[in-house]
Amino acid sequence: MVNVIWVMMAVIGIVFAAANGTMDEVNKAVFESAKEAVTISIGMISILVFWLGLMAIAERAGLLDRAARLFMPLVRRLFPEIPPGHPALGYIVSNMVANMFGLGNAATPMGIKAMEQLKKLNGGRDEASRSMVTFLAINTSSITLIPATVISIRMTYGSAAPGEIIGTTIVASTISTIGAVLIDRYYYWKRTRKGRKR
């Protein structure tokens, strides 16, 4: 899907330029934007190094584990089908906490481990269980605390207050996560209702 959109933007753009005589602008744009992309990536190093360095301290101090324990009661309520003390719960919580702190690289392996456990709970079937759908709903709208990459891009373009969007991001992502859980519950309710009719 991304492949199609990516190719289409370039091809439509060039065909459009041929028809409208804007090929000079297109030529300029190709080289300027490629250069810009590299500048931005390099500019991101500052924030990413600082933030991931700080998070490494937090991890070694056991802060992420503590945060995970804090969220455990909530997660147990979100996943009523998982028996208490099951390893899936631990992976789910670690994945959520890592996502929250913008540690995408740490979050993905935890998420995959969680899915493996959930599949075992589902008898190894190749269809999504209720818990899997809930887990992915929370994951796709995960609560963000510090959007580090966005802040670094805003810095690169000379924002007067690069961090001013932290508050709006937290509010927006929290509300959408709650929404995602409610949407998930609604579809679960619909599924069980259908099941009963049969």
Partner: protein, 177 residues
């Protein structure tokens, strides 16, 4: 909405102090741990280069040719009718498909309209506040070999639309237009 402002200003300094002191109390070799973790940041920034170059060049061709303006003329009346800013509609669509692609689009919007403009702030919030549904579904279901996704895709996309609408409202509410 003063509290959202205060949160934005105080969260990072508060986290820095808290993590540094907590690490010290727990006898973590703070500086060494910091340096070790920071190295990962360099890797991530460099690995982002091909994604950003690819996406930014494609978006730039589309914009410079005038095709984007032509598309905007079609989207604008529809977006206006429901009260959404047309400029971020392509970003919202791309956000569901690919995080790095959306990052390219966000960068383009911030560069074009300025980071402190309404569009710049809105793009920043949209980029930060949702994960890439298609990526998450592909990676997580793919890794464990689950083929029947059930309602997962529907739930994910509905949540993305909700997140987009909430972002528009909260940015309007906190910063105004």
């Amino acid at each position: 909405m003063a509290i959202v402002h205060i949160l934005s200003v105080w969260l990072i300094p508060a986290l820095i102090v808290f993590i540094l002191l907590y690490g010290t109390v727990k006898k973590v070799p703070t500086y060494e741990a910091f340096v070790e973790g920071g190295k990962e940041g360099i890797e991530i920034a460099f690995s982002l280069i091909p994604y950003l170059v690819g996406m930014l060049v494609s978006v730039a061709i589309f914009r410079a040719s005038g095709a984007l303006d032509a598309m905007m003329e079609v989207i604008e009346p529809i977006a206006d009718a429901i009260g959404l800013p047309a400029e971020v509609v392509p970003l919202a669509a791309l956000r569901t498909l690919s995080g790095t692609a959306a990052l390219g689009m966000t960068t383009d919007l911030i560069a074009t309209y300025g980071p402190d403009s309404f569009i710049g702030r809105l793009a920043s919030t949209i980029q930060g506040s949702t994960e890439t549904t298609l990526y998450v579904l592909t990676v997580y279901f793919g890794a464990v070999g689950v083929k029947k996704m059930g309602d997962a895709l529907k739930v994910g996309i509905l949540a993305d639309i909700l997140s987009f609408i909430v972002s528009v409202f909260i940015v309007l509410f906190v910063f105004g237009r």
